[in-house]
Amino acid sequence: MRRKLKEEYNHVIAGICREKMYLNTHICICDNKRIEVENCKRIMEYNDIYVKIKTSTLILQVWGENIVISDYNMDGIIIEGKISSIEFL
């Protein structure tokens, strides 16, 4: 019981810290042509119609056509192309 409470407490504290230190995943969508994802950890899968990326808090799947990734070395990536759907896992 105590363990569960402790885990929940830690989870809440971690969430607050992540929020205060801007370590949450920030996604900026512009039309259906451009998505900027901050705090991206790695690219799990990628091809020209689908990309799956892992961020600090969740996993993102982006479907579309002519998908192109740009990385400007800022712990984030930019996904460009004709985007048809975004899924959060």
Binding site: C40, R42, I43, M44, E45, Y46, N47, D48, N66, I67, V68, I69, S70, D71, Y72, N73, I77, I78, E80
Partner: protein, 389 residues
């Protein structure tokens, strides 16, 4: 523009695990863009400075890296980096542009009528303003003050520069004309001893009659007029009094004289660049005295006169020789002098030569011609009447 300066290389990587390679790329400090997977090849763009690092990653991950395209000014510079002459030429051209922009190439003077350009240019040169001067060193305000003090005929002067041209604008003083007040009472008096041969009286009372002789200073037309009721009133006397008078002029000529005998003219050319002269001749000194004249022909580009030109210097060497004249020769020279005198002083419409008597004499090796002219002209002069009113 930033990409053009830094240079961007489009690459293609062929590897067995493209996702892994993309993650390696992502986790490195290399900025990559437009990454896409086409037929299991990763195609993307990186900056030229990161390409070497990309090569190392490709080698480490057993991937085959190919360069597809290069874009940017940096590649053009690298291609020509050993062509030192290009860079030296570029900097020399830049230095020349900066130099020419700060050097006086032309001086334009406007607004002057009686004051000549040469006078103004001479004073400007004394103040350091001439073709070839360095503009930042010129004190224009000081030059303006100096020119105004030096030339009394100027009312205002402005000196400024527009690029490499110095523009001088002047306003001359309006000279006060000699004004004869037509309201002030005055007499007309004679300026010469003469016989009156013509009269035109516009205002006043005529004193002598036609044919009378008058002396210098005699009253010709009086401004004091007696009225009908024995009252006196004063007028501004006006009129033309034509008198016949004599004038004596003498000219002399030495029987032995020194004259200049000129040798062949010597012409020397030099190139003038911003005021500096580069001679185009071997310097041979001229032993005798000479007369010097100079002509500068500046080159022109469209309508702009450049400060580069050819200077043509003309030297006329001469020797002074003693010459003896015969009586006939001396008389001929004197007659020429007489003719020149008549052309310069007696060819006016206001004076008519009625007669001339020539007397020639020789004394102490000097021949003298005395010409006695009988002239007809206006002998009247206005003289104010000083009276208490």
């Amino acid at each position: 523009m930033f990409d053009s300066i830094r240079g961007v290389i489009t690459f293609s990587v062929c590897c067995s695990e493209p996702n892994k390679f993309i993650n390696v790329l992502k986790n490195s400090y290399i900025a990559s863009r437009n990454l896409r997977i086409i037929n299991s090849n990763i195609i993307g763009e990186v900056y030229s400075c990161d390409y070497e690092t990309l090569k190392e990653f490709a080698e480490k991950n057993s991937a085959e890296l190919k360069e597809l395209k290069r874009k940017g000014i940096i590649f053009v510079f690298r291609k020509y980096k050993k062509r030192i002459g290009l860079f030296v030429g570029f900097f020399l051209a830049l230095a020349l542009v900066i130099f020419c922009s700060n050097i006086v190439m032309a001086i334009e003077i406007s607004g002057n009528e009686h004051v000549t350009d040469e006078q103004i240019l001479a004073i400007l040169e004394d103040n350091g303003i001439k073709i070839g001067s360095f503009i930042p060193n010129i004190d224009f305000r000081r030059a303006e003050r100096k020119i105004i003090v030096a030339l009394d005929d100027l009312a205002w002067i402005g000196v400024r520069n527009t690029g490499c041209r110095v523009i001088v604008e002047v306003n001359e003083r309006t000279k006060i004309p000699e004004m004869v007040s037509t309201t002030r009472p005055c007499n007309v008096v004679s300026t010469k001893d003469a016989q009156i041969v013509g009269l035109k009286v516009y205002m006043g009372m005529l004193v002598p009659m036609l044919g009378d002789g008058v002396r210098k200073g005699d009253l010709l037309i009086s401004g004091v007029v007696e009225g009908s009721h024995q009252n006196t009133y004063y007028v501004h006397a006006m009129g033309d009094i034509i008198g016949r008078y004599e004038e004596k002029v003498s000219f002399s000529q030495n029987m032995t004289d020194n004259i200049m005998v000129y040798d062949d003219e010597i012409i020397k050319k030099s190139i003038s660049v911003f005021g500096f002269r580069i001679p185009l001749y071997i310097n041979k000194s001229i032993d005798s005295e000479y007369e010097y004249a100079e002509q500068i022909n500046n080159f022109k580009l469209l309508k702009l006169t450049l400060p580069v030109g050819i200077v043509i210097s003309e030297y006329n060497p001469y020797t002074v020789e003693s010459v003896s004249y015969t009586e006939e020769e001396a008389e001929e020279l004197l007659n020429e002098k007489v003719k020149r005198y008549e052309q310069n002083f007696l060819s006016d419409d206001s004076v008519k030569i009625i007669d001339n008597k020539i007397q020639t004499s020789i004394k102490d090796n000097v021949m003298t011609i005395t010409v006695t002219y009988t002239l007809e002209g206006n002998i009247g002069e206005t003289q104010e009447i000083l009276a208490k009113y």
